[in-house]
Symmetry: C2
Subunit: 342 residues, 2 copies
Amino acid sequence: MRIAVDAMGGDYAPAQIVLGAVEAVRKYKCDIVLVGDEEKIKAELAKTGMANNPHLIIHHASEAIEMGEHPVEAIRHKKDASLVVATKLVKSGDCDGVLSAGSTGAATVAAKMFLKMIKGIDRPSIATPLPTTHGIALLLDSGAIVDSKPRDLTEMAMMGSIFSKYVYGIDNPKVGLLNIGEEETKGNKKVQATYPMLKQAKDVNFIGNIEGRDIPSGKADVVICDGFVGNIVLKFAEGLAVTLFQLIKDAIKNGGILAKLGAVLVMPALKKLGRRLDVSEYGGAPLLGVNGCCIICHGSSNAKAICSAIGVAIECVKNDVTGHIRDSIAEEELLANDSETI
Amino acid sequence: MRIAVDAMGGDYAPAQIVLGAVEAVRKYKCDIVLVGDEEKIKAELAKTGMANNPHLIIHHASEAIEMGEHPVEAIRHKKDASLVVATKLVKSGDCDGVLSAGSTGAATVAAKMFLKMIKGIDRPSIATPLPTTHGIALLLDSGAIVDSKPRDLTEMAMMGSIFSKYVYGIDNPKVGLLNIGEEETKGNKKVQATYPMLKQAKDVNFIGNIEGRDIPSGKADVVICDGFVGNIVLKFAEGLAVTLFQLIKDAIKNGGILAKLGAVLVMPALKKLGRRLDVSEYGGAPLLGVNGCCIICHGSSNAKAICSAIGVAIECVKNDVTGHIRDSIAEEELLANDSETI
């Protein structure tokens, strides 16, 4: 098992990326190819005392894609960008999967361009794990496809189900269509057209429409929505968590000595909860629909998040998520052709 | 000042609705017309010792609209429904505003049918107040318009600005377009087409695109989005709050005696914060764009929420929000006609 890691992508690159890779080698006994500026990566590795570990391989790339760059332009012009080189290592078969905490748009374009789409899938989607009361719900799409079509949403349901089954081990995962009401007739034209398609979709355990409040309660294992909606929901959750944490801190600070003492006493219990809700424990978000394993990490990923994401990449490859998606869509097309013949 | 209250709408109707009306009469020295089953309302009023208060008027209505009913069908067939009668009291000039915690769809249909739209406004939208770090942000639309057009979103911006200015007293309120990135070219076709229209909109202090994470931080005073997105965001926030509260309670319960003691000590500070974040303090959501004041309350509204919502209705009427919207759209049409003539 060998995973290519874009060492230059992310707010804390290359330091936290290299640290995460080192942790992953220890934890998963895998090979990691760190792609990027050799000197910088070497310097970071030296600090960890793992510079000569044979499982940590440096692959030099002279360029890096910045966050503000136009994805397509960047991929076209920076042929020696760490992300491009890392993705091509999967294409050539040298690596089993690729991971980046850099620009999501660029990672998506690189995957589409070099790994290509799985035949029969129109567009790739990003599946983001969200902690719920029961466990994890997979939200897709989280921003790869805006202006998605009902067909895209149906493909997401199939791909999300496969990921949820093979990586999280959820048997027959429940799929919910994110809407503003439970009835089949609710919502905008897009979801209204998607509902009957999901009801008929093969390999999809469709439980109907779910509402915003049903996401955290864990009503569905796989939550399907347009990338515009999914991205807003995710970033809203992020902002809410940050704001709430700040407000609680301020309230305790202004609450006097007893509130401060109380906070100290209650902290161990809350820290345990915080770990369960900490998204960096769940690793990155797989880009589903492309021919190969590609994991997208949050820009602010620290070493722990990178290490978890490498774990997700390994599970993806080991359980052949891409292969299962390929089989499912091929079978579906076969069925469609059969029914046309009849 | 006289507000018509649908006494039969809401999960806790009529008891909490009547209690809220009683509180409002004490607090705002206004008249409240309680519309619904006379016997039931009388029984609730008797419990409060305010049965003979001249500011609490009962207006009998023999029917009530249930939550599951089709809005248009219900309004058409139940001519003596409390919501219908209450809305007509505004149309006839007997009341200055109407308020309901029943079906949002039915309240919207009733307002459109009996109060009519303001000339020049295509569709009404619901503006929901959300607590932020700084104060309150107004999110619209929260579910009245799915499949909105750029024109609808631009009208929302104007109407939300007027409400924010005249009811919250925010001078030149900042308007943000909810999107998945800050750049003008980001997002789906709808928001891309809306951006230039908002830039040119009169009476709108457009600050550009904002992301989901910017809502709780209070970057904008008025957040503009399609009703499908707004409704999902709102319900997600609601669900997240409930789930988080439950998880924290469980964590403290399982955290042993020290965690429990800590929770007791920290509670007063958190309760103060909770009151600031409690949406029932902010009252209901105005339905903007119709000819008259119509306030929609959450189905689970308690007496406090109803009382606050009556306060919002009073502010709406006192500051002539409807008149200001009417003037703004009339001026805009005038300008459009002028430029056509030139």
